[in-house]
Amino acid sequence: MANTSKTRVLTANRLGDGRVVYLGDNGWTSDLDLARLVLTEADAETAEAAGLIGVAEREIVEPYLIDVEAESDGVQPLRLRERIRAEGPTTGNSRVAPQPEAA
């Protein structure tokens, strides 16, 4: 495992519907595996600048960096809070109901 503690991803909530999104190489995505990995301080600055643009352009709100582990099979947030944000509530009625997918 290569220096995973330094790997980060920029996340936010979409303005229009509040859904969780990540900064990807082509704009914002709800797929964490498509998120742009932030490995250096320079990457972090670039990502945060993109976050501010996202806020200014009213795509997203409240961007921040989270710690992740990037493995061959995908990206996993380190903290439980972020794992729940990525995957949805761990239990309950939102899991069984049909999920009207946002545009």
């Binding site: 709100v61 439980l80 949805g88 761990t90 309950g92 009625n93 109901a97």
Partner: protein
């Protein structure tokens, strides 16, 4: 129930239009998030982990069938087919889209509902006894007073920017089912004035959160017509002296705690002397006009005993058990209030599917004079049901998965949304509640354990009332792991107490066993089956529980 007048209708309509405009301006870029956030919060819109959350006020927890059906319709159309009833007698939707919230508010306004003052540093939704207007033991119906307070406090210019949020609860019975002693102001409507007239015993400075405190009695009797003058006197004192420098010290409970109830009482009395007899005096006609909205329905004259009920009870012991736990004595002979449990085994406390909401709406119309209540225990209540109708009602509840006979038992858990939804959470609450309700699912065992309230919060804000649980569970974050601290001996009622931490916390996979150890220790040590958990705890103290949990 209360019906909007022209003023109320116009007000809520205007407010919805105003918010629609604000949302449009936000999306168009004319408002920044910093400008918009306080506006959305004033309309009950939060941003949680996965989505926006909309908190809808259910004033004093009272709903009609039509309103309940509207909530079902909204969950189906704009959300994920369910809603979450909360300890604040409100309803929360967890998945609305910001763009659609104005449409939701418009739908709500059609049935005289809204989301105003469900957030922010204002006087929040006034809560009350869920058996109000029905309970056999009540001096009078507290809901007209909850409505009078709502009208007085709604957008009160002086009180829209308080140092912090302000919560008022009112009950009409000495038996406190509304947890009034853990509210900023708790009011108990009672007889005690000249010629046995009605007035209020007033408690001040209770609250939960990070500094839990039981309210102190500030006055033993305020005559009914002077209630608003007295409340205004309290709010003035709070507005003047309440701390705005520190969010964590801003609640009135801190003011009462720091200055002492006697100093606060003197200051309130001085303001009260100034205000009484003035414009806030409530004229009898105005009071009667409001009370008329809450006039008791046309109860039939019935014998206290129902043969239909007795026969059904004998034929079906499970039904008998449900009746014993989930009905409450009513003022009118031949009637009871029914608790519809939203705590099925393994379920999410307080959640109702839209289909269930529709069924409850039907049942209310058919059997309960079109009235539904939301309890702070996160259950639904049909306040006025004929004993004769209980078997038929029960049959429908069984079909709908709403017939769990566990009111007041250990599986009747209050739980906040916790880390599954809430942006402030340290740990999950819902899965713990689900596992506990599965562990204690056996009906005989629950009946043997008897009255025991278990309450879970995912962080110290205590939305799940854990401080006043006989057994309270608080989620904490220990080095990135979910951890649970257990408190014992809390109580929400007229014997209100804040629970004491029993010892070091438990990991997720230990906490259910720990609760079971506590329950088993109680069963071993109780003096008889008639000594409930809380009484045994008060007699025994923490020691035997600590020993069982941690060894000596």
């Amino acid at each position: 129930m209360y019906r909007y007048d022209e003023f109320d209708h116009a007000f809520v309509r205007d407010r919805t239009e105003q918010f629609r405009d604000q949302v449009n301006r936000r999306i168009a870029g004319d408002l920044t998030e910093d400008q918009f956030k306080p506006l959305r919060l004033m309309n009950g819109v939060y941003l949680q982990l996965h989505a926006y959350m909309l908190r809808i006020a259910i004033p004093y927890g009272t709903l009609s069938g039509r309103q309940m059906r509207k909530l079902a319709h909204i969950s189906r159309t704009y959300d994920k087919d369910y809603g979450h009833f909360t300890t604040r007698q409100n309803l929360q939707f967890n998945w609305p889209k910001l763009e659609e919230i104005p449409a939701i508010l418009e739908e709500l306004a059609e049935v005289e509902m809204h989301a105003i003052q469900t957030s922010g540093n204002c006087i929040r939704n006034v809560t009350t006894d869920h058996f109000a207007g029905a309970a056999a033991d009540e001096a009078d119906d507290p809901r007209p007073w909850a409505e009078i307070i709502r009208q007085w406090s709604s957008l009160h210019p002086e009180f829209s920017f308080l140092p912090r949020k302000f919560k008022v609860a009112v009950t009409g019975a000495a038996r406190d089912r509304a947890a009034i002693r853990v509210h900023d102001i708790g009011l108990e409507l009672r007889r005690g004035g000249p010629e046995n007239s009605l007035g209020f015993r007033v408690f001040l400075g209770g609250g939960q959160g990070r500094t839990p405190l039981v309210a102190k009695e500030v006055r033993d009797f305020v005559p009914e017509h002077e209630l608003l003058a007295y409340l205004e006197a309290i709010l003035r004192v709070y507005n003047r002296y309440g701390r705005r420098d520190n969010k964590f010290k801003a609640r009135v409970k801190i003011l009462v705690h720091e200055r002492g109830i006697d100093e606060i009482r003197d200051a309130v009395e001085a303001e009260f002397a100034d205000l009484r007899g003035g414009v806030l005096d409530i004229p009898a006609e105005a009071r009667e006009k409001i009370s008329a909205y809450f006039a008791p329905p046309d109860f039939e004259t019935l014998p206290a005993k129902s043969d239909t009920l007795e026969a059904a009870w004998k034929a079906d012991p499970v039904f008998g058990r449900w009746v014993a736990r989930n009905t409450h004595p009513h003022k009118a002979p031949g009637y009871v209030s029914v608790t519809i449990s939203l705590k099925p085994t393994g379920g999410v406390p307080g959640d109702a599917k839209s289909a269930q909401m529709d069924i409850v709406a039907d049942l209310a119309e058919r059997y309960s004079f079109d009235e539904i209540r939301v309890s702070h225990e996160q259950n639904l209540i049909l306040p006025h049901v004929k004993k004769d109708d209980l078997p038929a009602l029960y049959a429908v509840l069984v079909e709908a998965g709403l017939a769990t006979g566990n009111a007041g038992f250990i599986s009747d858990i209050i739980a906040c949304p916790g880390l599954d939804y809430c942006a402030l959470a340290n740990a999950r609450s819902i899965p713990i509640a689900q596992r506990l309700s599965e562990r204690f699912a056996d009906a005989d065992r629950q009946a043997d354990i008897g009255d025991l309230n278990l309450k879970i919060s995912g962080c110290i804000n205590a939305c799940g009332h854990h401080h006043v649980g006989h057994i309270g569970i608080l989620g904490v974050d220990r080095k990135g792991e979910e951890f649970y601290q257990i408190t014992l001996g809390g109580a929400p009622g007229e014997d209100a107490a804040i629970g004491e931490i029993v010892g070091k916390g438990f990991a997720t996979d230990e906490v259910v066993d720990a609760v079971e150890t506590i329950v088993d220790t109680y069963l071993q040590h109780r003096s008889s089956r008639d000594e409930p958990f809380i009484d045994a705890y008060r007699r025994l103290g923490k020691a035997p529980f600590q020993e069982a949990l941690y060894g000596s």
